[in-house]
Point group: C2
Chain length 347, copies 2
DNA sequence: GTGAAAGCGCTAACAA
DNA sequence: TTGTTAGCGCTTTCAC
């Protein structure tokens, strides 16, 4: 719906300006590289298109090619750094290839048909990037019925063909190792729950690092937090209330859980990092914004979104038929929340 | 690009199933309410469409009607609660009316032509929701050239026809008033800078509340923080370093600035709220996640996104030619960061 | 109240 | 190398 008064330039306008047929213009402008067009003609056309400020009508192109040149991204929440970093990356990846990105906010616990309705609006996208918190969510069930290719981001689920996910195990190992290197031996772990893949991966990494250092796994130091601030707080309280020697460090599995844990530590006047070190996985602006600034293992979240978008386009084009990739942690980001354990309690 | 093996149902399939002409089906299905179609026919068609699971091809419809049924939203950053709350609301508003929402991430300081290029990708949207931090940003200059209607969100800029914005002055007044009600008299204010509208509005509200309580405006209690965590921290430090009697409360104008201020207070072991109360404007998950939980004046951010989307659709439809609206603060949310001033320092 | 038909702007055979 | 042409699926006059 152009503004009144706006002149819309079409292919045939450009053709007229370049005095050739519109099909030739189409050949040149649709970028089909291996088209046989005389160099001189091509330049004339390009010049005319530029002069007229031609922009293709994507509806027409879409009608013809049965493509929308639009990617969808389904997200369960937006107030979570992980998702918006993924979105940012995906938007960039899509944009670079001439696609746009539509977002679809799908409540994790939405009734099945609502999720379904939104997903199948997928008839307006060529492919779907899917993020979900829960391996068995409505969104995941719905998306299987989508008529377009999709790529699951940030999770690996059995039976789903295309998954991009993080090497959570390695990340957890790095985080735990950092604490061990600082001299910690009693390291609490706030664990996930609902999500076997992720949870198991991180738990495994935690155990591995403990193992390698010859530290026995102690169930008294592990509590289930899930992935929320609230859960992190509850789990932290639970561990502190258990009695026995207090841990000197805690590793909540996500930034959100870490936030909750930090709140409890503040509340109980346990100094970070003097009395207790804290580290988590997934870096983000939020980590720098806490006090003290949080040490993390940073993950290539935006990159996953970026590569995910580009890969999805390949999937759409048929350039590729499956996509599975694991993203390794980027680096340990040691900030102010980790330090050697208090002298008295060192082993 | 439907998955191989997927049958695509078109209007004529439905027509065949309902044994009538496809134009009749179109009349019924495009929801043109005042169409003369026999009730019995209409039902037959609806039934057939449902049975076949018909879904309109939006490219075709778009080509015919020169509409895309897509709204764009331009955002300068995503790691800011305000923007993603707006997005959430806008997505809902768009979805309810059968539109989808594409996001366009435009760096505030992007070179003009980059912003322009992204905006004019607007030829794939029917209208634009525009958010910006800066009254004079590239994004704003670019959008004026867009070929579609647009609505500026969260800011009021002279010369821009359609603006939805908050009553920042009232919000600031409420925040300041809350501190005054608690007994505070030396109230610091961390102010914006680049953005006259917002900044001036809030500053005005702060002054009004002070005035009404008979407290003189003291420039020593005001510093410029801008809208970032870093800026909030710097401004807070500056005020604390100025000497003279320390303020008993601080009102940073945004959640981000408040975060920075809180970090500094923690650093300098100034207890919140015992030694210093903190309050800000714009509620959000982040406020609950800080320690101590932040008191705020909550604003209808998501609602602005929601109403903005719906209004933009009216603008597109020509149902309406201009839109200007001011959203009042929702409520004072008193959490743990505000309390009466320390006894010794009460006036 | 319903059908016939034109055409939106584009791409992709096919012809030349 | 370039032009001609059919038609993607839909809405919308215009007949009937």
């Amino acid at each position: 719906m152009p503004k009144p008064g706006t002149v819309v330039v079409t292919l045939s306008d450009v053709a007229a300006a370049a005095s050739c047929d519109l099909s030739t213009v189409s050949r040149v402008l649709s970028g089909d590289k291996n088209q046989r067009v005389r160099e001189e003609t091509r330049e004339r056309i390009l010049a005319a298109a530029k002069a007229l400020d031609y922009r293709p009508n994507l509806s027409a192109r879409g009608l013809r090619t049965s493509r929308t040149y639009t990617l969808g991204i389904a997200v369960p929440q937006l107030d979570n750094p992980v998702y918006y970093q993924i979105i940012l990356g995906a938007e960039r990846g899509a944009y670079e290839r001439g696609y746009s990105l539509v977002i679809s906010h799908i409540e994790e616990n939405a009734a099945d048909d609502s999720a379904y309705a939104r997903i199948v609006q997928a008839n307006r996208v060529d492919g779907l990037l899917v993020t979900t918190l829960d391996d068995n969510s409505a969104i995941l069930r719905a998306v299987r019925q989508a008529r377009v290719p999709f790529l699951l981001l940030n999770r690996k689920v059995k039976g789903v063909r295309n998954c991009y996910h993080f090497d959570s195990r390695a990340a957890a190992r790095m985080a735990t190792q950092h604490l061990i290197d600082l001299g910690h031996r009693r390291i609490a772990y706030l664990s996930g729950q609902v999500h076997p893949t992720l949870g198991a991966g991180r738990l495994a990494g935690y155990c591995e690092a403990l193992d390698a250092a010859g530290v026995a796994y102690d169930p008294a130091l592990v509590a289930i937090s899930g992935y929320t601030v609230q859960g992190g707080a509850t789990a932290m309280r639970e561990i502190l209330a258990r009695g026995g020697p207090r841990p000197t460090a805690v590793f909540p599995l996500t930034l959100t859980a870490a936030t909750g844990a930090m709140m409890v530590l503040h509340e109980q006047r346990i100094a970070v990092p003097d009395d207790m070190s804290v580290i988590t996985v997934h870096d983000g602006p939020m980590a720098e914004v806490m006090y003290p600034q949080l040490s993390t293992v940073s993950m290539p979240v935006e990159q996953m979104g970026y590569e995910g978008a580009q890969t999805l386009i390949e999937l759409i084009n048929g350039t590729r038929t499956r996509a599975n990739r694991e993203f390794a942690p980027l680096a340990l980001v040691a900030r102010a929340s980790t330090a050697p354990p208090p002298a008295a309690t060192t082993t």
